[in-house]
């Protein structure tokens, strides 16, 4: 492990163009850190307003039940309880009682949007059916326990494969079946390729990914101003503009009457991009009460009411030639969608798409069935379906290597898209119908670097030696290529006011990924380089009319590009106006700190004076006839995604007595294009890797066959802690993308993606003497003990 105080990774970087101020590529201090370190952050539960009331929800204890009656009297009798609201109480305020959030797709068989509160049927444990509003949370929870609900339990379906059988209970009483959507992805003459193939290998896989478990749960605070009718909602969201749009749609408000503000967000990881029933209930609660209302999710609620990623069943079959080169892949996926559509069919789409990118694959067909279950809705968690596709592909490649007695890395090398074919047109399209073109990168070189760093070729003798001593070492590999920077745009405004301070507004949302620092860096690169002279406001719909928010490793790519072009415009105007004020040609000026300077002379004008000059003075002309103000707003449109890639190699030691897996070393070599901030990039990767280790070995949101959750605490749903994190060696390759002005690719999700396949491959390798074959993730100690037991007895 590299020593503390130094960058952990090694950089193989092309020489950058020299600029007078070079913040890009430097690990400048984060703007976010100081208040967070002092306990002065402002998270959703830190907001307090005079007269504020607090809410608690009454939730279904059943996976599927009729809601026959709700009696409020006992709850309302408690001192300090102000209201118990059920669906009928909300309806007068709702133009549309459903959250219409599904991404468009022609593949839906059923529209199942979530209601604010259900009319008469609850379809998963944790679904809210009533909201209590009280003086404080303690009283609200007391009262929630006294709301009497007459439940009529119905048969429920827990497993997504079982859900598609003809005699399965229906997840919704009124649905004809549990098939929410169905589609086939693919290209080429798959069956002909299979018929002509030298070898065909078929496997079945089960995969599970669990929840996001940001350490901060969700929360919402709403204030309704009875005088002007405006609603302000603070919520721990990754997508404030989407929340605003849904609130307007449901409440019948125009966008000028609804402001959504994101406070500090204590981790997002996907589920906070979703708009939830509680959010609209709290907003209506504030309207009804005429007072601020707050709701803060607790961890148990997070387990049952915050969206998750869960199960996929795969059948996948690979056709290869005698040398292990892929000819075609075909198969089927069943995806657990949960009880409602809270995002779309993007997750299984991403999973299926993933098979066809990264490796050269002449023909492909994957049939995807999306199944309804009586569980909370499934939506993206860091990685968003891509880890599952990568897992299947990497496991198939391991199988091919084993069958053909080839080295696992060699099989991959033969199939990876080579650098000389970039840009590489794949056979698949994104969910928005945009052709997937791999824009840049050298995947084989990345893999080779990882192998060398991991000591791949020296490993077999070490493994053999250890086995003689009764120790089971294994090594495994996983490659990934990940679409990042999903468009179409992110809006950024850059402004210098008469104070001389730079202000940045953006529709991008910060949830811990250093978004403010990233934008400040890009803007200051053009505007003097003083990171203490900038304020970044992210995620407030009151400051930017349009915005997308945080998802899909997109914000550095999209918001970063807009920040760059907007700040170049402000820079040009700053120079132009300064040129007029100083009576010096523009070519003789440069920007440094908070001033515009005459090159080589002790003459300058500060930002404040320039901004003041274009702020206008009544009765006087603007200098140089320029437009008023010193600001620019840009929304750079980039439809095509840019593809990051990387290779993980894991070395493990398996204790065959206890089934414990110890990750001895993990090498991660990746390429996210031009690196803006090495420390942040490494932080993003390390967090993702930790999540990936959890997906391989620990995280499992268990339900029984009737949809009852079997996890409800962080003591039985295991997050990786410091003692499970191995020594990690990071290395960075930089292939700038031609798709955006800064050459950057996203990185937020990259760490997680290849980890489960690399770790599982390593465990299988360690247990090769027992003939272990692993086709699932996560694997538990008892799975491992079961794998070695036949040989032991």
């Amino acid at each position: 492990m590299s020593p503390p105080g130094r960058a952990k990774g090694e950089y193989q970087s092309a020489q950058r163009e020299g600029t007078p101020v070079s913040l890009i590529g430097a690990s400048v201090p984060r703007l976010e850190d100081e208040p967070l370190l002092r306990g002065k952050g402002r998270f959703i539960d830190d907001l307090h307003m005079p007269g504020m009331l607090e809410a608690a929800f009454v939730r279904s204890p059943y996976a599927h039940a009729l809601v026959l009656a709700i009696r409020k009297d006992a709850a309302l009798a408690i001192e300090g309880v102000h209201a118990v609201l059920v669906r009928d109480d909300l309806l007068p305020y709702l133009r549309n009682e459903y959250m219409v959030v599904g991404l468009p797709s022609k593949d839906y068989k059923q529209d199942l949007n979530r209601p604010a509160l259900p009319a008469d049927e609850a379809v998963h444990v944790g679904q809210p059916v009533a909201m209590v509003i009280a003086d404080n949370r303690y009283i609200a929870e007391d009262a929630a326990a006294l709301v009497e609900v007459d439940w009529g339990p119905l048969a429920a379906v827990g497993d997504c494969k079982a859900a598609l059988s003809a005699d399965a209970p229906k997840a919704h009483r009124g649905s004809p079946h549990n098939l929410l959507a169905e589609f086939i992805m693919g290209y080429g003459d798959v069956d002909a390729r299979f018929a002509a193939a030298k070898h065909v290998f078929k496997e079945q896989y089960w995969q599970h990914r669990g929840g996001s478990h940001s350490i901060e749960c969700r929360g919402t605070v709403a204030v309704h101003d009875g005088n002007d009718g405006r609603l302000t909602v603070w919520t721990s969201t990754q997508m404030p503009h989407a929340a605003q749009r849904i609130l307007c749609d449901m409440l019948g408000f125009d966008e000028n009457a609804v402001r959504v503000v994101t406070p500090d967000v204590g981790g997002g990881f996907g589920p906070k991009l979703v708009f939830y029933p509680e959010d609209v209930c709290v907003a209506i609660g504030a309207m009804i009460m005429g007072r601020p209302v707050k709701w803060i999710e607790d961890r148990l609620e997070h387990f049952v009411a915050t969206t998750q990623e869960r199960d996929q069943y795969w059948e996948a079959e690979a056709a290869v030639d005698a040398d292990g080169r892929l000819l075609a892949i075909r198969g089927e996926v069943i995806h657990d969608h949960g009880a409602y559509t809270a995002r779309g069919v993007n997750l299984p789409y991403n999973s299926a798409e993933q098979i066809a990118i990264g490796y050269e694959l002449p023909a492909y067909r994957m049939k995807v069935r999306v199944a309804l279950t009586n569980k909370v809705a499934v939506t993206p968690v860091r990685g968003a379906g891509h880890p599952q596709g990568v897992f299947v592909m990497e496991r198939l490649l391991d199988r091919i290597a084993r069958e053909l007695k080839l080295d696992r890395a060699e099989v991959r090398r033969r199939n990876l898209v080579p650098a000389n074919k970039m840009p590489y047109q794949t056979g698949v399209k994104s969910r928005g119908g945009i052709a997937i073109v791999l824009d840049s990168g050298d995947y084989p070189r990345c893999q080779e670097d990882a192998l060398v760093r991991a000591g791949w070729s020296d490993f077999p003798p070490r493994q053999a030696e250890a086995r003689k001593a009764g120790r089971y070492l294994g090594i495994g590999i996983g490659n990934f290529v990940k679409g990042t920077g999903r468009g179409p745009f992110e809006t950024v405004t850059v402004r210098i006011g008469p104070s001389g301070r730079i202000l940045v507004h953006t529709g991008a949302a910060a949830m811990g990924q250093s978004t403010k620092t990233m934008l400040a860096q890009i803007v200051c690169e053009q505007l003097g380089g003083d990171m203490t002279n900038i304020t970044v406001v992210a995620g407030d719909t009151g400051t930017v009319a349009t915005g997308m928010g945080g998802s899909n490793s997109r914000q550095a790519v999209l918001a970063g590009s807009s920040a760059h072009t907007a700040s170049v415009k402000v820079r040009n105007k700053l120079i132009k106006v300064a040129s007029h004020l100083l009576e010096v040609g523009e070519q003789d000026l440069e920007i440094e700190g908070r001033s515009v300077l005459v090159k080589g002379a002790d003459i300058k004008v500060d930002f404040a004076k320039v901004a003041g000059a274009v702020a206008g003075t009544a009765g006087y002309s603007l200098p140089g006839g320029v437009e008023p103000g010193l600001e620019a707003t840009d929304s750079v449109v980039i439809d095509s995604m840019t593809y990051a890639n990387g290779t993980a190699v894991a070395e493990v030691e398996v204790d065959i007595e206890t089934g414990a897996v110890h990750i001895v070393k993990l090498v991660f070599v990746h390429d996210c294009g031009r690196i803006l901030h090495p420390m942040i990039v490494e932080g993003q990767l390390l967090g993702g890797i930790a999540h990936g280790i959890g997906n391989a070995l620990f995280e499992w949101m268990r339900y029984d066959d009737d949809g009852q959750p079997l996890c409800g605490t962080l003591a039985d749903y295991l997050l990786v802690t410091a003692t499970e994190m191995p020594s990690i060696e990071l290395a960075h390759h930089e292939s700038p993308t031609p798709l955006n002005p800064l050459g950057i690719k996203g990185v937020g999700e990259c760490g997680v993606i290849p980890i489960a396949p690399a770790v599982i491959s390593a465990v299988e390798d360690a247990l090769a003497p027992f003939g272990a074959r692993i086709t699932r993730t996560p694997i538990t100690p008892s799975d491992i003990v079961a794998m070695v037991t036949p040989r032991k007895t």
């Binding site: 503390p4 984060r30 306990g39 952050g41 830190d46 204590g266 390390l686 003591a715 802690t721 994190m725």
Partner: protein, 159 residues
């Protein structure tokens, strides 16, 4: 209304005399009654460590302790750690330098845990650091930056 008691305690060196409901947790008391919102609540069942504070110098999960149990005791929260509004404590500074925080939600609990740990174990090995913070969940950092920060503060060497 639930039963209340009067308590007296010191928090970050300041004396408070408050009436609190007997069922109120120390975490909620600090956050809502004293408006010291730097102590965060992540799980309310004692696993995540975000709510860690020091009571008479020892770390406790303030979600598992009642406010009335703090009667007569001295509590230190994250707001009481930095020596001044312009300086950070060395642990805070090191976390900053080593990217030991991202969203920052778990950070106050991590800092409080480390304050106690480095007092007990001023020159730890990497393994000792990892064990010490294994009761603080962080979903952002993969813990690497936190470990690096502690070793830098302690002047220790990695194992």
């Amino acid at each position: 209304m639930a039963e209340s008691r009067s308590i007296s305690l010191k928090v970050n060196g300041v004396s408070y005399h408050e009436d609190v409901e007997v069922r109120m947790t120390l975490a909620d008391f600090l956050r809502h009654s004293l408006e010291l919102t730097g102590t965060h609540i992540g799980c309310e069942h004692g696993v995540c460590g975000a709510c860690t504070v020091l009571v008479d110098g020892r770390s406790v999960r303030s979600c598992l302790m009642l406010a009335i149990q703090a009667n007569g005791r001295e509590v230190t929260t994250i707001e009481g750690v930095a020596p001044s509004p312009t300086e950070l404590h060395p642990i805070q500074q090191a976390l900053r330098e080593h990217h030991g925080l991202q969203c920052g939600f778990c950070t106050p609990g991590v800092v409080m845990t480390l304050l106690e740990f480095l007092k007990d174990c001023p020159n730890p090995t990497e393994e000792e650091v990892r064990v010490a913070i294994s009761g603080n969940l962080c979903r952002c950092t993969g813990y690497q930056g936190i470990v690096d920060a502690v070793l830098a503060v302690a002047g220790g060497k990695r194992a």
